[in-house]
Symmetry: C2
Subunit: 466 residues, 2 copies
């Protein structure tokens, strides 16, 4: 064999070996390699130096990096060495366009806040374009903070769905129906017709779960609540509702309907495993049992409930009965941000001081509320909330060495008590990278800020002229 | 006049005009120009497009930019256009080296947390070098978050003073004295002798206020507390002490000394306007009156008190009686960070839900607790806590257009409810720039993290072998 022949054979052998390795390894859409994976699966597996393989937006494998690399190959790879990888966070309750009213008015009685500021500001400013601008701003803040799924209740929800889908974010989006004229629909019948069209339009979307959102038991009549339930049954649609947020609501419902809010809703056949109840501050043990039996999801909003002085929801009791209770920020007009890291931290601390027991709501449980239990609260736990084979790829990659995170001893403690929104580096939703190394890929941050500042001026002007 | 002559005259005229303008304008060490100044002075002046002139670490003028620029010139200028400028934040209570125990153990009963984790970890790890490494880490986190003054209580306080002065941070640093052997001093007499030397060494420093820190009324005997008071009188030194942090302490002191903690301390002549009392969770209305009469400063630590389930201090009552009550993070082993923005936000929200009134502790009052009232709590309000002529130049420059800050309606609301530590851009202490555009100038962030991770391994190893 002459040197040319032996060189040719070497090249041939090398090519065959490479091709063989490639055919042995399955080609996937995305590989996340390296870093520690906090899966939040049933066994709470934590994988050092892990890897995740994604095909068509779905996780096809989670395990040690070496194993994932030996089985899968991809042109799109994210090196997560030295980082921590968690399920995307789930914001269980917000009114996303209200981020444009962030800090408009604070430290007021609820009635004064609503009637002097929020209601007039909404009446004079909320259009479909306002809602779109606010949604983009809220989505940008949520992605930056590692939120991959959120549950909304507002007006023009079809526009919110459109903006959310374009940004690539997962959401349960409830169109508000209420017994008085609102920015998008002037009558109950119009609102119900809008909602039916909206739900049918979005019901097969991969990211958007369209829902109907009767505002609250005190703003929607019994007859209308029953209509909502019927529509939900017909369309198999989720129902988002505020329940028992304030003592006044609890007392008024009791006076008007003979039962406290959750019992009243249960009595009229409204509750089901499609319902997502926000707040649940004033609920009795019996009512917690009802939530569990009916499979109602609950969104606990500790910072909003504190700031508006509503009260403290009996979350430890709900958790002890295994109710699907997640965490929400509420609208940024009442919080004043969409930051789930602060919400976790506050929940864990608030329930300790209220119960008088520092063992109450430990860090792992708080993180569970922001991930897999939050997914249960939105009836989405089959598709998101943990990192495991078969689930959609909703993934957050966190820096783990910022000054506020040094030194490190325990994953859950660090996630809940030390990590900040700013430590979120990369965000993947449904297999699509929506933020890479803190750069938003599906939203234009500068344009969003410019739009927000245009609405800021309009809002100030509109309240000056009232 | 030929062209050369006229050109010469032009140059001469220009030079004379420039020199004349320069002689009219006073040359200063530093000018901060542009941006909105939230002064926190007595009239709560807010200056749009403002300016601050600094000479020898002291503010010589604060006002509209045009006025400052017409009167002063400097080679060192910071352009703060579009930013917000506030007094540096004041962390009223911490144990700074304990940042190395951040997240070591959480969600435990106080006794278990202390006896199984913190005390053994301290006994096996706390050396002067440990304290220096922890102090540098804590200082870096505090500067990044806009804290320019802090109050500490720990061991090897002389080393803490050395690191703090080198980093250019202002602090009241209390050497701990306690009725049992601790890492730096094995007997009471040794500790008192150390403290006297330490106070004499630092008493004329521009940044460091050396103090004596008897740990608490339940860990220091009555005779020893009286010795502390005598030393404080002799040296004119501040006294830092934990007071009435837990119900158990309140009950034990009442049983052993016949009075609740603050009354007991008052009865034995311990309280004065040099005392800084941390926590004050369990104090009666009478005791709040005593704090006011005696001029005792109080450090409220809402997040630590929540996480350890200690209770909620009667802060609205203290504020209504004009007690000098500031905010503190407590040590990062119990919080788990040194973030004053979250502490403000939590304080404002916690006291609303506890009082049931959303008007309680409005944003402006929370920001006051973190600045000028916090300075009063540390008996430093003559030199820091607000931006006004004559005070030391302790200045924070904030980004004001991060996604979490858009849109903007009200300064105090935005500072307390929307601004994060990460929005701090530039920090000036005593006229010296210690962070510029988020780059630490007096500390080496990488070296600090490397040191912290060496101690992390030692701490884990030391607890494994117990």
């Amino acid at each position: 064999m002459n040197p040319y022949q032996s060189a040719f054979i070497c090249v041939l052998l090398f090519t065959m070996t490479t091709l063989s390795a490639q055919t042995r390894r399955q080609s996937v859409d995305l590989l996340v390699l390296g870093g520690t994976i906090v899966t939040m699966d049933q066994t709470r597996r934590v994988i050092d130096d892990g890897g995740i393989a994604v095909v068509n937006g779905r996780i096809v494998a989670v395990g040690p990096r070496a194993e994932i690399e030996s089985r899968y190959t991809s042109r799109q790879r994210i090196n997560a060495a030295g980082k921590v990888i968690t399920p995307g966070l789930i914001n269980g309750h917000t009114h996303v366009p209200m981020v444009l009213f962030r800090g408009l008015a604070d430290d007021l009685d609820l009635q004064e806040w609503l009637t002097k500021y929020i209601f007039p500001a909404e009446a004079k400013n909320v259009t479909e374009e306002f809602v779109r601008a606010g949604t983009r701003l809220g989505l940008a803040e949520m992605i930056r903070g590692g939120t991959t799924t959120y549950c909304d209740m507002y007006y023009f929800e079809d526009a919110i769905a459109d903006e959310t889908a374009k940004a690539g974010v997962r959401a349960v989006l409830g169109e508000t129906v209420i017994d008085f004229p609102v920015p998008d629909n002037k009558t109950w019948d119009q609102a119900m017709a809008y909602t039916e069209r909206y739900i049918n339009k979005w019901k097969n979307d991969q990211l958007i779960v369209p829902a109907i959102a009767p505002h609250a038991p005190y703003t929607v009549s019994e007859a209308h609540l029953k209509q909502v339930k019927a529509l939900s049954d017909t369309l198999n649609a989720d129902v988002v509702i505020h329940v028992a947020e304030t003592k006044k609501e609890r007392d008024d419902i009791k006076k008007d309907h003979g039962d406290t809010p959750a019992k009243y809703l249960n009595r009229i056949g409204f509750l089901s495993d499609r319902v997502i109840a926000a707040h649940a501050v004033f609920v009795t043990d019996d009512e917690i049992d009802i939530f569990k039996q009916k499979g109602v999801g609950v969104a606990h909003n500790p910072q909003s409930n504190m700031k508006l002085a509503s009260g403290v929801a009996p979350v430890p009791e709900m958790l002890s009965k295994d109710v699907a209770v997640g965490l929400g920020t509420d609208g940024a007009a009442s919080n004043n941000d969409l930051n789930m890291w602060e919400e976790m931290d506050t929940a864990a601390k608030l329930h300790k001081v209220i119960s008088g027991d520092p063992k109450t709501l430990p860090a792992e449980q708080a993180f569970e509320m922001a991930t897999i239990r939050g997914a249960r609260a939105l009836h989405l736990d089959k598709i998101t909330g943990s990192l495991e084979t078969g689930k959609r790829a909703d993934i957050v990659i966190l820096d783990w060495d910022d000054l506020n995170q040094v030194p490190f001893f325990n994953y859950y403690s660090h996630l809940v008590y030390a990590t900040k929104a700013n430590d979120v580096r990369t965000v993947i939703i449904n297999g699509r990278i929506v933020m890479l190394d803190r750069r938003l890929l599906t939203l234009n941050e500068n344009a969003i800020k410019i739009d927000a500042n245009i609405y800021r001026k309009k809002i100030i002007e509109s309240l000056r002229n009232q």
